[in-house]
Homo-oligomer: 491 residues x 2
């Protein structure tokens, strides 16, 4: 069957489906979100906001700008960028006009943006949702709509300086998010390719052998070797040689040793990669992050477009939080090309922008993607486990009253506080009970209550009550806003 | 064949297509974004961020939580909610599975969220992109992907208190954004319907006559009347009676007068609306916003789902900024149901959530939508017109050097500053020229340069240069971060 025959056949079937009523034949209304998607409730949003703030603060500290691109691109923009995974792209219906697809990641739209605007230098971050028609049933709850959180440096610079900054950023973000101890594995596509060459892997098997090596974080060496030899047809000798290399871990010392290695040193590619790896580690020393970074020859990463350094950060604490994160199916392995426990990954891709430029002009890029869905999931579980309630509002004070017929007075005071910049709530009831007003404060974590009564109005004061201690003190109305600011300055 | 058999067959065929290469045959390539969409560059993003911050600060001051919903919904969720405009909904391709559509606004997903989670009380904001297959050629550059910025209060409360808060919020946001003078028109769906009834409009013509009245902000009364009489078949007498009412504007006094009006007082609906209008104005007085709010009987607004108060804010200054905003086609008229110059709109919709509830349980809602694309456009033009450059980064200092071979020292100091929380940039070059380092600061608005040289290193100091004044002063390395913080505290 040819592609156009398939298209014809599919069109015929869909027409038939429409005729017999399609999904709309069932008139029973389904109250749900689309398969593989979810709403974020206010609590999840509060956590999400905190995580984003930490990450954006770090990106800005490093002088990054931000851009945004549309949620859909011309279908052809995405074509040929994701290999096998292209089948996971969401297409829009052909309603007469351009053929469109939802973005699959932020990297390809970024490369399209650079080429289209002829930008040759930029340090940018982009936080947005991407879409993949993964099978949630098969992958245990993986989302079809999820956030990516990317930082990239584009431009022709002296080697390894931007690459080192990306690793510094991963180090800063993971430290600040307090996710527990972590390690950042580093390798280089050129070292991998050179290694395959000197171990006797045929050129046309580099990719498939590389993707088998990528499984080493989940499978034993024996199983990986067996896949290489029995499924991929590699000689046992070559496999054993690879086995020796991929067990190696170290730092600058390992790069130096491998540069002297009788076999490795025969590959020009490997030597270029190893020389850059030495340089990278010297910058990482200056950035004081070598405690967490390890040069690991088993790190392969899936994506085709990497051309140089690659890296991946993993959480090393086997706390229950991690286990359940995996059970929740928030393992980003296939999505981000990162392993179980992995929370960030990236690398250098010097060829991608050139694929979009009409003249093939290259713009070297290096970037990192934070596995933000996994971070959310860990944060949510930490919040569940903690005694402290997650606040979903930032309200500082509730304007309340114990007596009847004071709605107007409550509204007047509320407006005064809003105008003074105080985050203020008031109940939308004529005569609410004091107890229900206090209960709302307890429930939503509002720390202060400004209570009005006939006496307070006469005296020109407000009774300011601290919710947790139940202390009450009269504050003159003129000083109320300042007093509230003072008492909630730590919120 | 049944629907599920078709789905199966389609899935099989698509899998086959993916295996044999799919659409990847065509090689000719178009470098553009999808029709009606655009990228946001860093400058636009900086402006967008400032506008969002102002608006979110206001929403939070009023105690609002935030939620998020997926970018696509089941097609049936959107069906029957938008009348004629349903043809503008983007459908996703049937790739075997649920039929999906991109969201058309944030209100319907909000109602779906409330019904699905059985939420009866919430004050929430939601800022996100929505999608409409409008014809950009016909509407001069209207976007097919654009932001909505919604604030809604759901729940059964005493009348008009949440409604008044929505108007207070519009007042606060428009004041803080400094868009020039504005007015907020208010009316009530019940007053409109009552007015139509007492003027002798047949029941089945309420909607179509209402949509003609809605054109009064763009057309003269003569033209509107002619449309009513000649196109919609209304009697001239009825049209003239409507004409008398829709020319009325006022405040609480007008509501009182109309309650005494011989004709109006015959309509129960109108009286209910007018009584609430009086109540609304009494709350608006407490909130001190009556200077900008006007009860205007010509305000109709398009959307079907409104059941009570409706409102719309317009900018009243005829500054060039407004004119060009309209020329840019950012007139949100059809999109938001608001008029030229309109920057916010909303109203009460007590029936929408019930459409999603299996038992039809109602959750009364009132909300407001800020016409954020128009605000962006005005802000962008203000920025263009102003001498002050829009900064796209927040970098406080650039670590630079005048001498060669100091890359390592620059990187070391940069890391020190990052670790101290200072937003710092450094050039990714071994030996950049001092001039090009200073030029970068000029270009991107970085206020300070920390210059390292052999002498400074020996003395344990850094030369701190203020870019605009070119003043230089030696600062001890230990005090550098503090000094930078002090000097950039106003940034």
């Amino acid at each position: 069957m040819t592609v156009s025959q398939i298209d014809e056949e599919v069109a015929k079937l869909l027409k038939l489906k429409a005729q017999i009523g399609g999904d709309e034949g069932k008139h029973q209304f389904t109250l749900k979100t689309a398969k593989g998607t979810r709403d974020y409730n206010p609590k999840q949003m509060a956590i999400r906001e905190r995580v984003f703030n930490t990450i954006i603060r770090c990106f800005k500290r490093h002088g990054a700008e931000t851009i945004d691109t549309p949620v859909f691109e011309l279908k052809e923009t995405l074509t040929g960028k994701y290999g096998e995974d292209s089948k996971l792209i969401y297409d829009l219906k052909d309603q007469g006009g351009e053929l469109l697809s939802l973005r699959y990641d932020l990297t390809v739209p970024f490369a399209r943006y650079l080429a289209m605007n002829k930008i040759t230098n930029i340090k940018r971050y982009h936080i947005a949702k991407v879409y993949r028609r993964d099978n949630p049933a098969m992958t245990r709850g993986r989302y079809r709509e999820f956030y990516q959180c990317d930082f990239d440096i584009a431009g022709q610079y002296d080697p390894m300086i931007p690459d080192a900054e990306c690793l510094k950023i991963v180090h800063e973000i993971l430290s600040e998010l307090e996710l527990g101890d972590f390690r950042i594995k580093v390798n280089d596509r050129r070292i991998l390719d050179g290694m395959f060459a000197v171990c006797g892997v045929p050129d046309d098997k580099f990719r498939t052998i590389c993707s088998t090596v990528d499984k080493l974080d989940k499978m034993s060496w024996e199983d990986v070797k067996s896949e290489m030899v029995n499924e991929k047809g590699l000689s046992e000798e070559a496999a054993d040689q690879i086995g020796q290399y991929v067990s190696m871990q170290g730092g600058m010392d390992l790069a130096e040793r491998l540069l002297q290695d009788a076999k490795m040193s025969q590959s020009k590619q490997a030597c270029a990669g190893l020389t850059d790896m030495k340089q990278l580690f010297s910058y990482l020393q200056l950035f004081q992050v070598t405690d967490k970074v390890v040069f690991d020859l088993s790190l392969a990463r899936g994506l085709d477009y990497y051309t140089g350094v690659i890296y991946e950060a993993i959480l090393t604490q086997n706390c229950p939080v991690n286990v359940s994160a995996t059970q929740n199916g928030v393992d980003e392995k296939a999505e981000e090309g990162v392993s179980v426990g992995s929370v960030a990954g990236g690398g250098r891709y010097d060829g991608l922008v050139g694929m979009f430029d009409p003249k093939g002009r290259k713009v070297p890029c290096v970037g990192v993607s934070i596995g933000i869905e996994r971070v959310f999931s860990i944060m949510e579980q930490k919040a569940e486990a903690s005694a402290r309630k997650v606040r979903t509002t930032e309200t500082q004070v509730m304007v309340a009253s114990a007596q009847k017929n004071l709605l107007n007075e409550r509204l007047r005071l509320t407006a005064e506080l809003w105008n003074a910049g105080i985050k203020t709530e008031v109940m939308y009831k004529k005569n609410p009970k004091l107890l229900s007003q206090l209960q709302h404060c307890e429930d939503s974590g509002i720390p202060l209550v400004a209570i009005l009564g006939e006496q307070e109005l006469k005296d020109g004061v407000v009774k300011l009550r601290t919710v947790h201690s139940r202390e009450e003190v009269d504050v003159s109305r003129a000083e109320l806003a300042e007093e509230i600011k003072k008492r909630t300055s730590d919120v």
